[in-house]
């Protein structure tokens, strides 16, 4: 239909000019070689300075350019256009469920607030040794698949439970980090961490929809981590009942 042209349908919104957001179509020559969605945005921005999006490392490690690409969340910098073009068309929207500041830039305040809520730092009040705290390779292995999160928000913003309760449901990204510290042999606040998560919303709003797993650009599995937290919570509850002598 467009021959050697590529149609890019881009979500546009500038709060100073637009009453409502709208989709703007750009038709460009199809790049000769396969490029990343981020490169495509650079090309468009050369033509139209007013297009706004976040970007930094351009190699998939900083997490700046999470966006919704033809209906699926991903990082623009490591998504080749060949993998997403449908009938010579690409549609780019901001991450769903968060307020839009401008164009593809979303307000991530709520996402970061959930991250801070799980106390994303090692808690160990014992006096630190002069050297490092020891940790066996097996204990360290438990952190693999957890610590690599880049906070791009692709997972949490693809999660219907997070869309529904962004203030109360911690969301897959922050829960992955909650488990990263629960799983760390050096962290001593397991009990407190579990208590903080034991209400009906923080963890239990996860219904295993698995969108988070499907979109994670780093191949991580928040759903599995949430399952581990749920097991710990169940076990913890039982332990409390037993220790209470009930």
């Amino acid at each position: 239909m467009f021959g050697n042209k590529l149609k890019v349908s881009l979500y546009r919104y500038n709060p100073e000019e637009d009453k409502f957001p709208y989709m703007k179509n750009y038709v460009i020559d199809k790049p000769e070689r396969d490029i990343m969605v981020l490169d495509l945005l650079h090309l468009l921005k050369e033509e139209d300075q007013s297009i706004s999006y976040r970007r930094s490392c351009r190699e998939g490690v900083c997490g700046s350019d999470g966006m919704n690409i033809n209906g699926k969340n991903g990082l623009a910098c490591i998504t080749p256009i060949s993998s997403v073009i449908k009938r010579n068309k690409i549609e780019l929207r901001p991450l769903p469920g968060l307020p839009v500041i401008r164009d593809l830039v979303v307000d991530m305040t709520e996402f970061y607030a959930q991250y801070e809520k799980i106390k994303p730092f090692l808690q160990n009040e014992t006096t630190a040794p002069e050297q490092e705290r020891l940790q066996s390779p097996e204990e360290r292995d438990k952190l693999d698949g957890l610590y690599e999160c880049i906070l791009c928000a692709c997972c949490s913003t693809s999660c219907p439970s997070f869309w529904w309760n962004p203030d109360k449901f911690v969301g897959p990204a922050a829960l992955l980090q909650a488990y990263r510290f629960l799983a760390d042999s050096r962290d001593l606040k397991t009990q407190e961490r579990l208590e903080d998560l034991s209400d009906p919303f923080s963890v239990y709003r996860c219904h295993g929809i698995m969108n988070c797993v499907n979109v994670c650009p780093k191949g991580l599995n928040p759903n599995k981590a949430i399952g581990e937290i749920k097991s710990m919570l169940h076990k913890n509850k039982k332990d409390i009942i037993v220790s209470d002598g009930v």
Binding site: S56, C62, L134, Q135, P137
Partner: protein, 594 residues
């Protein structure tokens, strides 16, 4: 954001202000957040998007884990030698001797280091590492969290800043330093990228922790945000830069993308070819060929390109041939490179060569500081501290890397000196130190640049000018330098200066206007590029990363020194190298062979 006047902008006061939320900035802020001083980090990106996140291999430090007899003095020797003897030995001594403390602190903060069987931090061998002052063979001194050490380090620092309640002005962009009549630094002019609000962030201590500026080159491993903002602000304020000719290049960055392709490819038997398919390294280094030193390989590649034997449509890159190794070797030994190459070069190295170019990797130069992070200027060939101004990390030149940085020393640099800077500011401010206020006209001066850009109704397109600048630097001040080429480059930069001063900002809106940020970043890149070009032209020798084929030898008689670039006169002067460490005898210069 129309014409901004001093009366109309908000003033926010801090004790200490840190510009930059990468490793060094967040290590400094952590120290200050714990102190009770009113501190803020101004970062143009959310802190975990900073370029520290891209560091892979590790943090080099003699923690004596892989080898219980390891000694920080051996690390010091390697670093002095790697620097080609123009690293300051008092600073290198501090780096290597304080390093273990700083690394153990990171572990206590939760950094998920990889581990040895005995539970201690995993260390791996890196280039330029030795035992027993070069006499005891290869050392393994680089502490690692798999191949994601920078990511683990940056996130750990952010997490601990959250823990200590540190104050962040995220997605705020610092435009210029504010100076009072006594030439003291009293803070910065900055604006919120989110809504365009401009503010004078007043501080008793301002720390430039803005990282490198690899984006002055067309091809770099650096993030898009590495535009040397802090260094450029200091230059515009009239403060000097040191050793700006010293840029580290890696021979094999992916053409067009800049992502690094490990030297291990050539270790496995891969080699470089030009457009005629010739294995040209046989001509330049008949014995070790493609495994010659990084500077030698990179220089040879540029010569091939300059002499018209580059590959591709524009004859502007080289091929790294790996297909003869076979699918089995590639899939088992170099799977990461295969993936990277497929993602970023769109070629499968099993069948096709990878297009590569020598790629700018690290800025050894920067704002000169002492080991407490205090920035200084030069008056009558003597160091004079600049009240209120500090710098740490890649933005600073303390100088521990001299003419060539060793792998794994950058992460150590940023935690050791970020920490030292934080500690120093704390003691200085608590003992009553500080700076005088700036007047209205002082502040107005720092708003000038923003106002000119906001008023622009015609002029040059920033995207076009940036490309010209990057190509100029890539062609004339890259890996390999020659006086006559650099002269051409300097002329071109002079022409570009007029364009950089007359940019047209078409989009004047306030909400998340990335065009405004990019235009200012371009001006920052120009400042850094100009200081690089002038310094490189002046240093008439080859040392470390500064390789000139019109002056191929190291010249200790004339150039065993730092260069100091003065942005006002645009002249270069010399500054002595420190050969007075406190705890050990100095390492005297000698011929550098490996």
């Amino acid at each position: 954001m129309n014409n901004i006047f001093t009366n109309s902008i908000k003033k926010i006061e801090f004790d200490a202000l840190i510009v930059g939320g990468g490793g060094s900035g967040m290590r400094a802020s952590l120290e200050l957040a714990k102190s009770g001083l009113k501190t803020a980090v101004v970062s143009k990106v959310f802190p975990t998007r900073s370029h520290t996140v891209s560091a892979q291999g590790g943090i080099t430090c003699a923690i004596a884990s892989a080898d219980p007899n390891d000694d920080w003095r051996w690390h010091m020797y390697d670093t002095v030698k790697g620097a080609d003897f123009i690293g300051d030995q008092d600073a290198i001594e501090y780096l290597c001797s304080e390093g273990p403390k700083a690394v153990f602190e990171l572990e206590h903060m939760g950094l998920p280091f990889s581990r040895f069987e005995n539970g201690r931090i995993y260390q791996r061998p890196f280039g330029g590492q030795s035992k027993d002052f070069g006499k005891g063979g290869q050392a393994a001194r680089t502490c690692a969290a798999a191949d994601r050490t920078g990511h683990a380090l940056l996130h750990t620092l952010y997490q601990n800043n959250v823990k200590e309640g540190a104050n962040f002005l995220n997605e705020w962009f610092a435009v210029d330093l504010v100076k009072n009549s006594k030439d003291e630094v009293t803070g910065v002019i900055a604006f919120s990228i989110e809504n365009g609000e401009v503010a004078y962030l007043k501080a008793q201590a301002t720390v430039l922790a803005t990282g490198g500026a690899g984006r002055i080159y067309a091809s770099t491993t650096n993030a898009l945000i590495n535009t040397g903002d802090g260094l450029a602000m200091a230059l515009r304020a009239g403060f000097p830069a040191q050793d700006m000719e010293m840029w580290q290049f890696h021979p094999t960055g992916i053409y067009g993308a800049g992502s690094l392709v490990t030297e291990g490819c050539r270790g496995e038997g891969g080699f470089l070819i030009n457009k005629d398919g010739e294995r040209f390294m046989e001509r330049y280094a008949p014995n070790v060929k493609d495994l010659a030193g990084r500077d030698v390989v990179a220089r040879s590649m540029v010569l091939e390109i300059l002499e018209g034997r580059g590959c591709g449509e524009k004859n502007d890159h080289i091929y790294l041939k790996l297909d003869h190794l076979g699918a089995e070797v590639l899939n088992s030994k170099l799977p990461g490179i295969c993936e990277l190459s497929r993602t970023f070069a769109h070629v499968d190295p099993i069948y096709e060569p990878i297009p590569v170019v020598p790629t700018c990797h690290y800025m050894m130069g920067g704002t000169p500081t002492n080991i407490s992070g205090q920035a200084f200027t030069r008056i009558n060939d003597e160091d004079h501290l600049i009240p209120g101004l500090f710098s740490a990390g890649e933005a600073a030149c303390v100088s521990v890397h001299g003419a060539n940085r060793l792998g794994g020393n950058s992460l150590l640099d940023l935690v050791v000196f970020g920490r030292a800077t934080g500690k120093h500011i704390q003691s200085e401010l608590k003992s009553g130190g500080g700076v005088d206020s700036a007047t209205k006209s002082d502040i107005e001066k720092s708003l000038e640049r923003l106002n000119i850009l906001n008023d622009s109704s015609n002029g040059h397109d920033p995207a076009d000018v940036k490309k010209e600048l990057q190509e100029c630097m890539q062609n004339y001040f890259g890996v390999f330098r020659r006086g006559e080429f650099m002269k051409k480059g300097l002329d071109q930069l002079n022409e570009l200066k007029e364009k950089v001063d007359n940019l047209h900002l078409k989009d004047k809106s306030d909400a998340f206007n990335t065009s405004r940020v990019e235009a200012i970043e371009l001006q920052n890149l120009f400042e850094v590029a100009e200081s690089t070009a002038i310094s490189a032209y002046q240093r008439t020798e080859s040392r470390g990363a500064h390789a000139r084929d019109d002056y191929p030898d190291r010249d200790d008689e004339n150039w065993l020194c730092h260069t100091i670039y003065d942005p006002v006169s645009k002249k270069v002067s010399k500054r002595g190298v420190n050969f007075e460490p406190n705890k050990v005898e100095a390492f005297p210069p000698k011929v550098r062979t490996y």
